[in-house]
Amino acid sequence: MIPLSGDIPDSKGAICGKIDSNSVVRGTSTLKRGFAHMLKNGVVMDVTNVEQAQIAEEAGAVSVMVLDKLPSDVRKAGGVARTASIRIIEEIMDNVTIPVMAKCRIGHMYEANVLDETNVDMIDESEVLTPADEYHHIWKWDFTTPFVNGARSLGEALRRVEEGAAMIRTKGEPGTGNVAEAIYHIKKVNEELRTIKSMYDSDDKQELVKMAREFKVSYDLVEETAKIGRLPVVNFAAGGIATPADAAYLMSLGCDGIFVGSGIFKAEDAQERARAVVLATTFWEEPDKVKEAQKMIDERQSLLGLDVKNLDLKMQERGSTV
């Protein structure tokens, strides 16, 4: 089981309040991480307007992520990519019943504050947008709204968890329609998890301490992770997913769910494809159902895709390395 504890003392994001005369607590780790638990085995879809958000909801998306531009357009446009227009985010929140997430720039406290005030259900501190601080990520414990962060390795994931991330997405290369990087990174995280699990199982504390130094996180967090043998928060795959088979494969590698960016709404058969990706994610263990899902899409209408080797901009590398 994924532990829901792991709060830091006096975190500013956890607040005591009242609903009329009844005492309540908000923003606890249980509530923030618990929210991510409710998304498990689901697909979160990137959208830029109400129409796309409604298509996503009807197709069975578990949540939508609002951006100003889809990642492949961010790549084409160049320049600085910032958080989406608040008016569009609010319009989407008023028109779908599923949770609404939005992205802020890495390290941009005040874009995050604005999204927190807007009442989005989760904030993605994302490398798809241009980082605002090359040396720090946001200190996420100070927020009542939960955060999701990207990671390419176990160390990166645990650094984000230590800063208060309630959910992780193993990174791919966004906006490429190329799933190779997403596969590489989840396999890498899995391998690192197996390594520390075996250290824990053989009670090798010295090696675990060395791992904590290498990961640049506290020993306690490494030990807890090693003990359960998985990330201590929900982990989705993201970046470059374009087809039902892509999604099913990532589920089979142990991801808790899927983020799809440009893969759906940059394809010419968005509506069918959205549905097909959800079906393949839900029924990934049943090959006949994945085949049926794959049959719903037309490869000639897929996002063309890019070879990761020739990219000028690698979004996955953006942001602080510590």
Binding site: I19, T28, L31, N41, G60, I98, V120
Partner: protein, 205 residues
């Protein structure tokens, strides 16, 4: 007495958490049984009890419709199989649901629990909360209720017993062998609710 089999509907949501809470309940009660994650009609047919976990009710409903699971679950519940619906599961069991902000949304429902639901009744994620809940009718005087974008019951039919209210809103109900809560017992360490459900399934077997 034969071995009982309780299923966790494994379409979407926090399946593992319910799986573990149910396993722990069986072992604490000393009941001989198995817990299985179920998705297909064949798996559902075998069950003596079913838990529908938290998640997104629109997704659980739509995906259960796709493989015929919805019809099978409805059939089993109507023939008396105990079921426990949590948050999205509560919505899925209901006969009618409406979103607090968006209003009426077309979504597949089991239509077995005679209640009307208000989805996202306490607001969005930032308004999600933990609070102490009392369920006197089933002998649980204090329970840590974890409410995540939780629904509430806005109207109940004559056969529905109200188990708990929070701030005048109905958050736990029972109708025959159907249990439903708006909050998430599987996210706490308290397994008393799961234990009551396991006992109910065991007594009927």
């Amino acid at each position: 007495m034969s071995k009982i089999q309780i299923g966790i509907l494994a379409v979407q949501g926090d399946v593992t958490e319910n799986f573990l809470a149910t396993m722990a309940s069986m072992s604490e009660l000393g009941i001989d049984g198995t817990v299985v994650q179920v998705k297909t009609i064949e798996q559902i047919s075998e069950l003596d009890g079913l838990i529908i976990p938290g998640g997104e009710s629109t997704v659980i409903g739509q995906m259960s419709l796709v493989n015929g699971g919805l019809k099978k679950i409805k059939e089993k519940i109507e023939s008396g199989m105990p079921v426990f619906g949590i948050c999205a599961g509560m919505i899925f069991l209901s006969k009618n649901s409406k979103d607090k902000v968006v209003g009426k949304v077309e979504q597949p429902l089991l239509d077995v629990l005679d209640v009307k639901i208000e989805r996202n009744s306490f607001g969005r994620q930032k308004d999600s909360f933990e609070a102490n809940i009392s369920m006197e009718p089933i002998g649980i005087s204090s329970f840590n209720g974890v409410f995540i974008r939780a629904p509430s019951v806005s109207e109940t039919g004559s056969d529905v017993e109200i188990l708990a209210k929070f701030n005048e809103k109905i958050v736990a109900v029972k109708q025959g062998n159907i249990f439903a809560t708006a909050f998430h017992p599987e996210l706490t360490r308290d397994i008393s609710l799961h234990k009551s459900f396991v006992k109910l399934v065991d007594n009927l077997n």
